[in-house]
């Protein structure tokens, strides 16, 4: 019991302090990272059923072993130009905490790299770029091998309204 508690505490701590394993992926030559616990599954590209009257960044939905999962193109979300899908394009299925439930969303990324174990001293807080920019979705910056990987707070990437929409779709 206490063990579970300590475990949970550790987990929470880890979640809170941003230390732990991150799944890194690349988008437009930039490396991003998502906490491993947020990641449910990684799958290769599969045909996406597009849903009308969805925002630009929502590509559609897929059928993953009976479950319908909405797919978001992160590129479109971040405002980057879209590119044709290669064989390396993958869909990462993430769990997002909404106000009441966890929902699964799939994000399309250019390529998936690896699972990195990032220590605390390697993580930097997000520098302030000015008041106009909303940098909540960035958990921090990881300094790895001379480069910077942007650690995303996936929960904040999508706004609650969008999540609502997703809920309805799903």
């Amino acid at each position: 019991m206490t063990q579970d508690i300590s475990l949970m505490d550790q987990a929470i701590r880890e979640i809170n302090t941003k230390i732990g394993k991150y799944l890194t992926f690349s988008l437009e030559k930039e490396e991003y990272g998502i906490g491993i616990l947020k990641v449910k599954e990684i799958i290769g590209m599969m045909p996406i059923t597009s849903v009308p009257r969805t925002p630009q960044f929502v590509k559609g939905v897929i059928n993953l072993r009976g479950k319908v999962i909405p797919i978001v193109d992160l590129r479109a979300k971040f405002g980057m130009a879209g590119i044709p899908y290669t064989e390396r394009t993958c869909i990462i299925v993430v769990e997002i905490d909404s106000s009441d439930a966890t929902i699964l969303i799939g994000i399309v990324v250019d390529a998936v790299s690896e699972v990195l174990n990032i220590h605390g001293d390697e993580i930097e807080d997000t520098p302030a770029f000015g008041t106009h920019l909303d940098t909540e979705y960035i958990m921090g910056m990881a300094k790895i091998d001379g480069g910077v990987k942007i650690l995303l707070n996936i929960d904040r990437v999508l706004s609650s309204a969008e999540i609502q929409d997703f809920q309805s779709i799903a």
Binding site: G20, I36, E41, I42, G44, E87, C90, V112, E114, V115
Partner: protein
């Protein structure tokens, strides 16, 4: 003489010379023959005579020499050599006899040879005598030696006995002297003792002295035993009695003396006097005896010395005689032996003297023996002397006989030599004669020969000269004519040969052209052929290109297939990566429990990475290959195009070449025909030239013959007259020429001008070559 033919004249002259030569030769030969017969006689008779005489003389001389040696030394080797020489002498004599039988001209040979033979026979007999005498002489020598030895032995024996006796007498005398000395010593001693006793007053000593005298008696007895002389014996007795008296006196003195102070002085004195008297007598007798002995000794010694001297003399004389013998033999003079014989009388005298001085029977016998031996010796010596003298006599006779033989040999030799010299002189005379005759005859022959030669020569040369003159004239004329002909034909020949030369040149250049054309056409056809081959090759290349293209495309296809597979592998790797990531996610979710699983996930990820890597590499390689293949393909197509172009061009070239070939052929044909034409032309020109040459050479021949004729004439002139007369014939020649010359000169040039252009070669005609 003029009418006789040349041959008869010449042969007559030679015949005469030959006769003269024969006469001279015959005479010379006759003289030679005479010399020859004489020389034969010389060789066969006189020279052998001399030879034989010399040989005989030599042998006889050597024989005499050997016999002389034998005569001196009586050595048998000389005798043997003499026998050998005797054999040689016999041989020479035999040769002489044979020569005598053979020879007819040796008149003195017979008698001289007989003389020689007589001498030799005499010599032989004497040789025999010599040998016998030598033998006897040897015997004599033996006897001589023996008797000499005997004599010496006897003398020595006598001497020995004398020495022996002497020693014995000496010993005796010495003994006697010793005894007498002893007696004297004893007497003296006794007297001293007596006096000493009287002085010291010791009567015992006197007794002792008396006793001592006994020993004197013993000695006297001994002395007596060895004495024979009467006087000596008497003395001994006297000494003995004196001694006895002395003893008695001493014995009588002692008792009186012992009384010493009581002694009667008068008795003492009387006794003393008696003692002294007797002592004196004793001593006197002893001394007398001693003296007598000494005298005897000296006498004996003298006596012995005398005898020994005599014996010594005898021996010496004997030695002298022996030495005399040897000396005589060595000096070869019998006189010495005679002197030696005289010694023997001296010996006899000595022996008589010795005999006179000897008394002993034994010695007398010895002396006689010596005398006997001396006599024998003497006899032997005189015999020796006789024989030896005889031997010498024989030697002398031998020499005489040998001389006789030698004289005979010399006579023979002289005869032979005189005959030889006579013959030699005769030969010299006759040869001298012959040479004189020969010389005279040769001179005569020379003179006769000269005369004959002169006449004959004259008979030949005069007509020959006439003939020479005529020949000269004719030859000159012929020579000039032929010279003209020769020059004209020469010039014709030159023109023709020039023509021929130019035609030759043309012909040769045409030949060259023709050959060039032929070569051209050959080359063209060759090129055409090559072109066709090239076309073929290009076609083959084209086909190969096509095939290459196809195969390259296939390679491309295969590469694409491979790339597809690679793509599949890549996808697999990607999927594996995703799997690994999912696994990692799940492991992370699992937390602690998923640590092992995380490791597994990691490993799987690695694998995926490797596979991806490999696939990427392979993809890259295949890309590369495909690119290269494409590149190759492009090149192939380019090449293909190029080859096509080449094919086209070569086809075109082939056509052109064929045209060239045909054209060349036609050209070659044309040239051939031209060549033929030129050859014909050339032939004709050659003919012309040959003809011109022939006429030129014929005229040359003629000219040469004319020259030859002139040469012969010149030779004849030389033979007949010699080189000095050359000028005469030249003068004759020029004379003759000038007469004929002017007549000839005018028509000659005109005719030659006429000859040259018209008849020989129609060069002035400008016809075309169709004439040929």
């Amino acid at each position: 003489m003029r009418n006789l033919s040349l041959g008869i004249k010449i042969s007559g002259g030679f015949g005469l010379l030959i006769l003269i030569a024969i006469a001279l030769g015959g005479m010379a030969v006759w003289n030679m023959n005479t010399v020859k017969t004489q020389s034969v006689m010389l060789a066969e008779e006189y020279v052998p005579e001399v030879e034989m005489a010399m040989a005989l003389r030599g042998a006889v001389s050597r024989l005499m020499f050997e016999m002389r040696g034998y005569g001196f030394t009586e050595d048998d080797t000389f005798y043997q050599k003499a026998r050998e020489e005797l054999a040689a002498v016999e041989k020479a004599v035999e040769a002489g006899r044979r020569l005598d039988e053979k020879a007819v001209n040796l008149k003195k040979l017979k008698e001289e040879l007989a003389e020689a033979i007589k001498g030799i026979d005499n010599y032989k007999a004497l040789i025999e005598q010599s040998v016998d005498t030598s033998a006897e002489l040897a015997k004599n020598r033996g006897v001589l030696d023996k008797s000499a030895a005997q004599y010496m032995a006897n003398s020595n024996a006598f001497l020995a006995s004398q020495n022996q006796q002497f020693e014995r007498d000496l010993a005796e005398r010495q003994q006697k002297v010793t005894h007498v000395s002893n007696l004297v010593d004893i007497g003296a001693e006794v007297r001293v003792m007596n006096y000493k006793a009287q002085a010291n007053n010791t009567p015992d000593m006197i007794d002792a002295a008396a006793g001592k005298l006994d020993s004197a008696f013993t000695v006297l007895e001994n002395l007596r035993s060895i004495t024979r002389d009467e006087a000596d014996l008497r003395r001994i007795d006297a000494t003995a009695s004196a001694g006895k008296n002395y003893q008695d006196a001493m014995k009588a003195f002692v008792p009186e003396f012992r009384k010493s102070l009581l002694a009667d002085q008068g008795v003492l004195a009387r006794l003393k006097t008696k003692m002294d008297e007797n002592a004196a007598v004793y001593m006197n007798n002893c001394n007398e005896f001693l003296k007598g002995q000494q005298e005897k000794l000296s006498r004996d010694m003298l006596d012995r010395r005398n005898k020994i001297t005599l014996v010594g003399d005898v021996t010496n004389l004997g030695n002298d005689a022996l030495i005399g013998t040897f000396k005589a033999q060595a000096m070869r003079s019998p006189a010495v032996i005679k002197t030696a014989l005289e010694d023997f009388s001296k010996i006899n005298d000595k022996l008589d003297a010795l005999k006179a001085a000897t008394r002993s029977e034994e010695n007398l016998k010895q002396i006689e023996a010596i005398r006997q031996a001396g006599t024998t010796y003497k006899t032997a010596m005189s015999d020796f002397l006789t024989n030896w003298t005889r031997l010498q006599e024989i030697g002398r006779q031998r020499a005489e006989a040998g001389d006789v033989a030698i004289a005979a040999c010399n006579a023979m030799a002289d005869a032979g030599m005189s005959a030889t010299s006579g013959i030699a002189d005769g030969a010299v005379a006759s040869l001298g004669n012959a040479s004189t005759v020969m010389t005279i005859g040769l001179i005569a022959a020379l003179i006769v020969g000269c005369i004959i030669a002169f006449f004959i020569t004259r008979g030949i040369t005069v007509p020959v000269n006439r003939i020479i003159a005529g020949l000269n004239e004719g030859a000159n004329q012929v020579a000039s004519a032929s010279t003209q002909v020769s020059s004209s034909s020469q010039s014709m020949a030159e023109g023709a040969s020039q023509q021929a030369a130019s035609i030759e040149e043309t012909s040769s250049s045409m030949e060259e052209m023709s050959s060039m054309t032929k070569k051209n056409s050959e080359n063209a056809s060759h090129a055409d052929h090559l072109m066709k081959e090239a076309n073929q090759v290009v076609k083959t290349a084209n086909d190969s290109m096509h095939d290459l293209n196809l195969s390259m495309r296939e390679i491309s296809k295969a590469s694409e297939e491979t790339s597809k597979i690679i793509k599949t592998i890549d996808e697999i790797a990607f999927q594996t990566n995703l799997l690994a990531l999912n696994a990692a996610v799940e492991a992370a979710r699992a937390g602690e429990a998923g640590a092992g699983f995380a490791v597994v996930a990691d490993e799987v990820r690695n694998l995926a990475m490797r596979a991806a890597e490999a696939a990427k590499n392979t993809a890259a390689l295949i890309e590369d290959t495909v690119k290269k293949v494409n590149h190759g393909s492009e090149l192939v197509s380019t090449t293909h195009e190029a080859f096509s172009k080449v094919a086209q061009s070569s086809a075109k070239v082939g056509e052109i070449v064929t045209e060239i070939s045909e054209a060349s052929n036609e050209q070659a044909n044309g040239i051939e025909q031209v060549n033929l034409a030129i050859t014909e032309m050339d032939q004709v020109v050659q003919q012309n030239a040959a003809n011109a040459e022939e006429s030129a050479s014929a005229s040359e021949e003629m000219s040469a013959q004319a020259e030859q004729l002139k040469e012969y004439v010149r030779d004849l002139v030389l033979i007949v007259k010699g080189s000095g007369s050359h000028n005469e014939s030249i003068a004759g020649r020029t004379q003759i020429k000038t007469i004929a010359g002017p007549k000839r000169q005018v028509p000659a040039p005109a005719s030659s001008r006429e000859l040259r252009p018209n008849q020989v070669i129609p060069l002035d005609d400008d016809d075309d070559f169709t004439d040929f």
